[in-house]
């Protein structure tokens, strides 16, 4: 049964995880995602799940390694510098091809940065958290409803590919409260069936030798993983476009800044500006196809909006646009939430210079 509630972003994500069948969580306190472990400390025991508070991010992520190895749908959640500490384990889980959902409620950086929202972990998320050059599907919700839906979906993706999957959020979406429609609760039977579908769980030898590690020689596994990542570029791309048909300028963004940018686009369209809008719903694999929908004879420029200095998402946009249109940026960083008025001003300025009128 779907259910509508007024919820805080972190708690809504945690509840979505439980409804998706998550039965293991371990975490370590870090602002701005403390509501995730706090919620799950009460919630998981109600569904016979296991909650642990580790002595560090390193320990917590390894507990999640254990939970995933035991066949439980497992959630890893932290923020920016905490995610950095967990990266070694996520890299090992990619090696072992263990499914896990990783939520990063981004804050400012580098290092301890600030506790306010940012989008400064784009490269870390899309290039690989740890060593070895592995990739994850990275979902980038723009509001709490999408955060809930994408977290729910991320557990299916993690199991489908038996691979770490990331939901890249931000402290803003985690701390906000909004009405949200919760996805259906998976029944105990469904959860048991999911757990039973993992034949590699080490419950004892039972006549066959299996172990969760180096399940294939590294050169062979690397090659197979690379093929899987290539296939994702055909099957796992998700984006949204709007108004590209008659656009003279295109605004592009992702996550929370896309939510704000979209609203700025609406303001200016009402004044007659011909604006297109592209939002990456998943940032890996990157939606190159969205930028092929642009009519480059008509579009005079592209404005990248993101909460990171230097810009990171813009680098992927640049690679997709291949110099067919000039790209400019509208940025904040270090924990400053981007202001709609500043985006409106940036669009207005670029439009006047590139399109005229």
């Amino acid at each position: 049964m779907e259910e509508k509630k007024f919820m805080k972003g972190c708690e809504a994500v945690a509840e979505a995880a439980v409804r998706a069948g998550c039965r293991f969580f371990a975490g370590y306190p870090i602002t701005p995602q403390n509501a995730v472990p706090e919620y799950l400390a009460r919630r998981l025991p109600q569904v016979n799940g296991v909650f642990m508070q580790g002595e560090s991010e390193v320990a917590s992520s390894n507990m999640v390694f254990g939970g995933a190895a035991a066949g439980k749908r497992s959630l890893l959640s932290s923020s920016s510098c905490g995610i950095s500490l967990m990266s070694e384990t996520v890299s090992w889980m990619a090696l072992c091809r263990l499914p896990v959902v990783v939520c990063n409620f981004q804050r400012g950086g580098p290092g301890i940065g600030s506790i306010q929202p940012s989008q400064q972990d784009y490269n870390q998320a899309t290039r690989a958290l740890g060593n070895g050059g592995y990739r994850m599907i990275v979902l980038a919700p723009a509001d709490i409803q999408e955060a809930v839906d994408m977290t729910y979906e991320a557990f299916d993706l993690a199991d489908k590919y038996s691979e770490p999957t990331m939901v890249l959020l931000d402290g803003f979406t985690g701390s906000l409260m909004e009405p949200v429609t919760l996805p259906p609760m998976k029944s105990e039977e469904e959860v048991k069936a999911i757990e039973a579908s993992k034949p590699w769980v080490p419950t004892g030898n039972k006549g066959t030798f299996h172990r969760v590690f180096f399940h294939k020689p590294a050169p062979i596994q690397n090659g197979e993983d690379a093929e899987m990542y290539e296939k994702w570029k055909e099957t796992e791309v998700q984006y949204e476009t709007d108004g590209l048909e008659d656009a003279k300028l295109v605004v592009t963004s992702y996550g929370v800044s896309a939510r704000i940018a979209e609203s700025a686009v609406e303001v200016l369209r009402a004044e007659g500006y011909k604006l297109g809008f592209i939002r990456a719903k998943r940032i890996y694999p990157f939606p190159e196809a969205a930028f092929e929908e642009i009519n480059y004879d008509q579009v005079k420029g592209i404005l990248d909006v993101e909460m990171s200095q230097p810009a990171q998402y813009a680098e992927d946009v640049k690679a997709a646009v291949r110099k067919r249109a000039p790209i400019e940026t509208c940025l904040t960083s270090g924990g400053v939430i981007i202001d709609r008025d500043d985006i409106v001003a940036a669009i207005r300025d670029m439009y006047e210079r590139k399109v005229g009128e």
């Binding site: 507990m63 254990g66 066949g71 969760v212």
Partner: protein, 247 residues
């Protein structure tokens, strides 16, 4: 008629290959005791083995037991979580001194303090074997390693760390013992301690810990027999054997 007087433990598969331990290394003895005990107690078919990073990984060539090889030092965090998720599976870690006492000190102590219902086998040879003989937290004072070429000196490197004694300061752990495999009498004592530790987990008593004082002929620069004498005459003075706790 031929009579079978010995049996290779189920966890060891000699057809698969051999282990990669150096000649004279006591890892093969401690791993054999662990494997034999799994057989004796009927645990082989319901065990998961969490393996550290270091020389213990040299067993991978000849073992057939469900194995989780986890990041360096994190064995207790992984094992503790697994046990909570699958309480009917027998879960043990097998870790060296660099793994358990240096990089994994936090995970080890906090798992012990939570009283995770797992068994930890700790193999202490006072040196980093696999990486070529560097200073370990357990290295004896005066011992030359590749990173203490003039010998471990307390002013600069601190003193050897005693894991059994450290864990024995905590309330939760239920079984703590230190053993060695230098001679038949000690091997029998080690077998009993491993069996008792396993029983603690089966009884749900919590964290059980067995430390094996081991050798490293290769990096100690000794013959295997000299290394056994060194354990008896020198190492055991620093690390006394015995059962520290049996709740």
């Amino acid at each position: 008629m031929m009579k079978q007087i010995t049996k290779i433990p189920a966890a060891i598969d000699l057809e698969k290959g051999s282990n990669d331990f150096c000649p004279g290394c006591l890892h093969s003895a401690s791993f054999k005791i662990v494997s034999q005990t799994l057989d004796e107690m009927g645990l082989f078919d319901k065990s998961a083995y969490v393996q550290g990073v270091g020389c213990c990984a040299n067993a991978l060539g000849y073992i057939r037991i469900d194995t989780i090889a986890c990041p360096h030092g994190r064995g207790c965090a992984v094992a503790g979580a697994m046990k909570r998720c699958m309480p009917d599976t027998f879960i043990m870690t097998y870790q060296g001194d660099g793994d358990l006492a240096a990089i994994g000190m936090a995970e080890t102590m906090h798992s012990a303090n939570r009283g995770d219902n797992i068994t930890v086998i700790f193999v202490n040879n006072g040196i980093y074997g696999m990486t070529g003989g560097q200073l370990a937290p357990t290295t004896l004072l005066g011992a030359r390693t590749t990173t203490t070429p003039f010998g471990r000196n307390a002013n600069e490197h601190g003193y050897p760390m005693h894991m059994c004694e450290l864990i024995n300061t905590l309330e939760a752990p239920s079984y703590i013992a230190r053993v060695t495999c230098t001679d038949p009498a000690n091997i029998r004592k080690a077998q009993k301690c491993v069996r008792d530790a396993f029983q603690h987990q089966l009884d749900g008593k919590g964290f059980s810990f067995v430390e094996f004082i081991s050798n490293c002929p290769t990096n100690w620069g000794m013959t295997p027999l000299q290394s056994l004498d060194h354990i008896k005459n020198v190492v055991l003075n620093e690390y006394p054997l015995g059962v520290f706790r049996d709740k």
